[in-house]
């Protein structure tokens, strides 16, 4: 028996290769065991847990104010949205609502996070398929967003800006101006993104007709986010269960049709444009007022169960808190989008080539700490 305690049994003509946990295209410590027949994939078996930190168990011993910060380390590219989900869930339990100013700033930051995350994804997609330069173009805009984050939140990646009842501090005086500048910059670069990667013949060939996921399968596998929307499944939490005033914003849910890698790619590209339009609507209309609702020093949720979902850059994040009335959660469950999306990988990748596996993984856009938690 090997260390992993599993079989490496193969049929005639097959062989097994281990992709990861250290591999350039797994974006972290994902370990895939791939059964191959020549170059064709017969089966993919993901092995998780290389970065399992048991955030759920940790949260059981942390207070309702503190556990939020652990979640920044799950999907670190949507750290702010993770925090928002937890803050919203605690607010639901306390039956309070954040002041309008706080809500609006939260949404703006969430959309900026989404933009930054999608830009990193765009760069990595190019990188995974062998085009190195787009990565640097993507980082140019992402850097500008992270600088806004740094100025307002004090951190670039793990912002920890949401607290139960609002946001931790008021925005920096430069925030609106800089955000508008960045939006202008990003809008002027969308054409460049399309020129560099989207319209490239090789890129289209690599992504079109690869990695099909039907709408039924997407639902059955619990896929959410751009992965499901690429297959035409409407699942945007911002539309279905609006939170923090998303119902007052005009935007479209981007849906794909084919369900292949290219359609997932296009969903994300168009989502970036939607995010820009959301921020544009809000940035000049941030209402005056408090940025934090008044809360007690020690938060205690009433006995019961609370479920709150938000749309992160990768799909639906659910926070399920079971409270027994104490100062820390009795049980907490994070329904992370990547965990479900990853479970569809085997189904999606079968029958394609190794090169396609890379394309499929990059359009699923996996963040391994979010899978392992």
């Amino acid at each position: 028996m090997s260390l992993l305690g599993e079989d490496y049994t193969t049929e005639e003509g097959e062989f097994v290769i281990n992709i990861g946990p250290q591999h350039p295209s797994t974006h972290g410590v994902l370990h895939l065991k791939v059964w191959l027949d020549g170059e064709t994939i017969k089966k993919v078996q993901p092995h998780l847990g290389y970065i399992h930190r048991s955030i759920e168990k940790m949260s059981e011993s942390l207070s309702y104010r503190n556990f939020i910060y652990a979640t920044s380390r799950m999907d670190y590219l949507s750290a702010h949205i993770n925090n928002q989900a937890c803050a919203l869930c605690v607010e639901k339990g306390l039956q309070i609502e954040a002041p309008p100013r706080a809500q609006m700033i939260r949404i703006i930051l969430a959309e900026l996070t989404r933009l930054a995350s999608h830009q990193l994804w765009w760069g990595c997609t190019g990188l995974d398929l062998g085009a190195v330069s787009p990565f640097f173009y993507a980082f140019r805009e992402r850097e500008a967003i992270l600088e806004i984050m740094e100025e307002t939140c004090g951190a670039r990646l793990t912002q920890n800006f949401c607290v139960p009842g609002g946001i931790m501090a008021d925005i920096h005086p430069n925030f609106q101006k800089r955000t508008k500048d960045v939006l202008k910059q990003i809008k002027s670069k969308f054409q460049e993104y399309d020129d560099v990667l989207t319209g490239n013949v090789i890129f289209e060939n690599r992504n079109k007709n690869v990695g099909f996921l039907t709408a039924e399968d997407a639902i059955s596998f619990g896929c959410t986010g751009p992965m499901a929307r690429g297959s035409g499944v409407s699942c945007d939490v911002r539309k279905w269960f609006p939170y923090d005033g998303y119902d007052k914003v005009q935007f479209d849910e981007v849906l794909g049709k084919e369900g292949d890698c290219f359609s997932r790619y296009m969903v994300r590209m168009n989502e970036m444009k939607q995010s820009v339009s959301i921020i544009e609507q809000l940035i000049d209309n941030i209402p005056e007022g408090d940025f934090q609702a008044k809360t007690k020093m020690v938060l205690k949720l009433p006995k019961g169960e609370f479920y709150q979902r938000v749309e992160t850059a990768r799909g639906e994040l659910g926070v399920f808190i079971v409270s027994d009335g104490a100062a820390s959660p009795y049980r907490i469950k994070y329904r992370s989008p990547n965990f479900s999306n990853l479970s569809a990988l085997d189904h999606v990748a079968r029958g394609y080539k190794i090169g396609d596996l890379v394309a499929i993984m990059s359009t699923i856009d996996l963040i391994i700490p979010d899978v392992d938690r």
Partner: protein, 151 residues
């Protein structure tokens, strides 16, 4: 369907279920042996069509374990939460639902890994996040780890 209609519909088929509406969603409490037929009904009946299992987890209530299934219907847009109590905490067992919802495959393996619930007829019942040689089930309340520091 509204919660009332759902209750009527389900009660007609499963007279033993009880309901709990204190929370956000309609909670259906059912015995662990009847779980599979109930979920099958919820999934395949045209009026119900709960086709999306968006959260599957377990809660350790010390005296028993409780499986929690959050279901939503993408077509009818109604939500139910199904709770199945497993009385045996030493050797907990419940029927798998991963033939109905493929996403349950990974979620059940996670629950097996962290709570030790054995899912009958699951195709690949192995630990998911932890190593095969790990002892105990970390998310159980009685799990003791001498290296754990409580703040």
């Amino acid at each position: 369907m509204t919660n009332e209609e759902l209750k009527q519909y389900i009660s007609a088929l499963f007279p033993t279920v009880t309901y709990d509406e204190t929370g956000e969603f309609l909670n259906i409490l059912i015995a662990s042996t009847e779980l599979k037929p109930l979920i099958k009904t919820l999934r395949y009946e045209d009026d119900l069509k709960f086709n999306f299992l968006f959260c599957l987890t377990c809660i350790d209530w010390k005296t028993n374990l409780m499986m929690v299934y959050h279901l939503i219907s993408k077509t009818h847009k109604h939500i139910v939460v199904i709770k199945a109590k497993i009385a045996d905490v030493v050797k907990p067992e419940i029927e798998t639902v991963c033939d109905i919802y493929q996403t349950a495959n990974f979620h059940e393996r996670e629950v097996y890994d962290l709570f030790g619930v054995n899912f009958k007829n699951h195709p690949d019942m192995r630990r998911l996040l932890l190593d095969e040689s790990w002892e105990g089930y970390p998310l159980r309340k009685n799990y003791v780890d001498e290296n754990m520091i409580t703040i």
